[in-house]
């Protein structure tokens, strides 16, 4: 399989990465190089094989359903590029 330029733009948008028009042909080339590299997998017989979900056989541990310790809003918002009164600020989304 290979991707065309429209697909490159669609993937970039799904991944929320802005791409400039002049970057698209080069990205297309690189993505197709990787896709052609993984193409050989389509020849592997995987009939009846279970997909791996956990590399070490173990049950997923569950914690008690109760409120645990947290660092507090001061600490959590300290690294934010925009924060006000313990809230993260973003560009306006509702007019």
């Amino acid at each position: 399989m290979s991707v065309d330029q429209a697909t490159v733009r669609r993937i970039a948008h799904l991944a929320r990465i802005a791409v400039r028009d002049e970057e698209v042909p080069h990205l297309q080339e690189e993505l197709n190089a990787i896709l052609s590299f993984v193409e050989e997998l389509s020849a592997v017989d995987v009939s009846g094989v279970e997909p791996m979900t956990s590399v070490i056989p173990m049950r997923l541990p569950l914690r008690k359903d109760e409120v645990g310790g947290h660092a507090g809003a001061d600490v959590i918002t300290r690294n934010a590029p925009g924060a006000e009164d313990h809230f993260f600020t973003v560009p306006k989304v509702v007019e």
Partner: protein, 506 residues
């Protein structure tokens, strides 16, 4: 007392500090001085000398009071992927600009619990995506090994310029391997998703172990591909890595994939007899175009182990060649999901846009480097509607087959598997991957199978290439049997003779 305290192995330094021949403060100062003089290598992205001196003084006080821990007073470097409370942690990415975590990773907190001293944060490929440390936002790291025919003057001139022509220290843990090989710390933390501990160790003549998946907690280590990522040490000897791993390993309730099993005293396995151990030699690792010197190194390794009483058994791991392409589906898929959190809202860089969506897109376009953007896009594609089964589910089935190959070998009584660590010695900065990303990916052809199967893998120096550069051998073990790897690796280290690391030319 030794004239240069940075020339100690970690074990020697531990014994010297414990017997009060050297103080932690003296040892730490010697390393801080060495780091200052080696800035040209670009191994450290942040130095924390004040913190190091405070920690060293506290260590000396504990030693005086008779409360020394297993790593008491020993200065270490920490890969920038690890959260260190109040200290820079950016996974060497621009997108985490200015991030100082308000928490400490479990692995580093265990190192400090055991008395270790932090020298600073080590350079790496951005988000651990790379095999040469060239994708770092902070620029490439130079290996302390000079290319054949270079003298110190030529090396220093290149350090002042763009470093082109100097050798890569491997990646992604290139700051770790370079710092350990250049004696800028006694040992370093590293991480390994497809070979990022073992390949840099092999390129720099150092020792690195990626333990079994679940052995070390991943909590507080920035996630790349969660089902493959493991923490581990790089140090100058097999014994040193065994000492470090004991402190780094252990159960952590904060990582749901952490395994609740006791941590052995790995150092006791160093020097144990390997008589009667069955060592598998997988024929599929004899790849087309493999240089003769890699083949010769492998053969030499086989002879050393046979001479030590091991039984050499030819084995087959038929799905080996599918591991690298399957990895380049699984790892980018998980990365695209894990790295979705970097959106300019809660931490790091924010690049404004006309609305919230363009703010996300602009932030991620500017914050992530080329390789990271490329992998996120591949991952997004293979997980997208209509392609999920053809790529991701198929790759996960192939992963089952890769793991089964190893299980069959181990069921036949194989104790460990010996392979080359890398398909070549270190290459030059700027030499690979600029036209075709896959060229760089091929570096991990021998190491990536181990991550896909969740097994422990260790790289140990085996000799030098024709151009005088280190070459490594890899040992692959049964799950949670790291001790066997330490015993077998020690035989190789003794037989090969400890590699003589470069003298400071930088």
């Amino acid at each position: 007392m030794m004239s240069d305290l940075t020339k100690f192995t970690l074990a020697e330094a531990r014994d010297a500090v414990a017997s009060k021949k050297v103080s932690s403060l003296e040892l730490t100062r010697a390393h801080i001085d060495a780091i200052e003089k080696a800035r040209g290598l670009n191994a450290y992205v942040v130095e924390t000398p004040d913190k190091a001196l405070d920690m060293a003084k506290a260590s000396d006080a504990r030693i005086a009071a008779g409360h020394a821990g297993p790593l008491e007073g020993l200065p270490l470097g920490i890969k920038d992927l690890y959260a260190t409370e109040g200290v820079h942690m950016q996974a060497c990415s621009h997108i985490l600009d200015g991030f100082k975590p308000p928490y400490e990773s479990t692995v580093t907190s265990q190192l400090w619990r055991d008395g270790a001293v932090m020298l600073g944060k080590l350079n790496m490929d951005e988000f651990a995506m790379g095999s040469s440390n060239e994708t770092s936002y902070y620029g490439p790291v130079a290996s302390p090994w000079l290319p054949a025919g270079w003298d110190a003057e030529k090396g220093r001139a290149a350090l002042k310029g763009d470093k082109k022509g100097l050798l890569v220290p491997g990646g992604s843990s290139g700051g770790s391997s370079s710092a350990v090989a250049a004696h800028l710390c006694l040992g370093a933390t590293a991480t390994d998703t497809g070979g990022s501990i073992r390949q840099p160790a092999a390129f720099t003549g150092t020792v690195g172990i990626k333990p079994t998946y679940g052995r070390c907690s991943r909590w507080g280590v920035a996630a790349f591909a969660s089902s493959l990522d493991q923490a581990g040490p790089i140090a100058r000897t097999v014994r040193d890595t065994a000492i470090m791993l004991r402190s780094m390993a252990g159960y952590d309730a904060k990582d749901s994939t952490s395994v609740n099993a006791p941590v052995p005293d790995y150092e006791k396995a160093v020097g144990a007899s390997i008589k009667g151990k069955k060592i598998g030699i997988p024929k599929e690792y004899r790849i087309e175009g493999m240089p003769a010197e890699i083949e010769a190194l492998w053969q030499q390794g086989i002879e050393w182990l046979r001479a030590a009483g091991a039984e050499i058994v030819d084995i087959s791991l038929p799905h080996t060649k599918t591991a690298l392409p399957a990895y380049y589906i699984v790892a980018p898929a998980e990365a695209s999901s894990n790295l979705a959190r970097y959106d300019g809202v809660r931490y790091g860089l924010r690049v404004p846009g006309k609305d919230i969506s363009s703010m996300y897109e602009n932030t991620r376009a500017e914050g992530f480097g080329r390789e990271v953007r490329r992998r996120i896009m591949i991952g997004t594609y293979v997980l997208s509607a209509g392609y999920y089964d053809a790529y991701y589910v198929r790759a996960q089935k192939i992963r089952t087959l890769i793991k089964r190959d190893f299980e069959l070998a181990y069921n036949d009584g194989i104790d460990a598997i010996l392979t080359p660590a890398t398909p070549s010695a270190a290459f030059g900065i700027g030499e690979k991957g600029s036209a075709d990303p896959v060229e760089m990916y091929l570096n991990d052809v021998f190491t990536v199978t181990v991550n896909m199967a969740g097994l422990p893998g260790l790289a140990v120096p085996g000799g030098l290439s024709a151009s005088g550069l280190p070459l490594g051998l890899q040992l692959i073990g049964r799950p949670f049997e790291e001790e066997t790897l330490f015993s077998v690796a020690e035989v190789i280290e003794q037989a090969a003779g400890r590699i003589s690391l470069p003298q400071a030319w930088w």
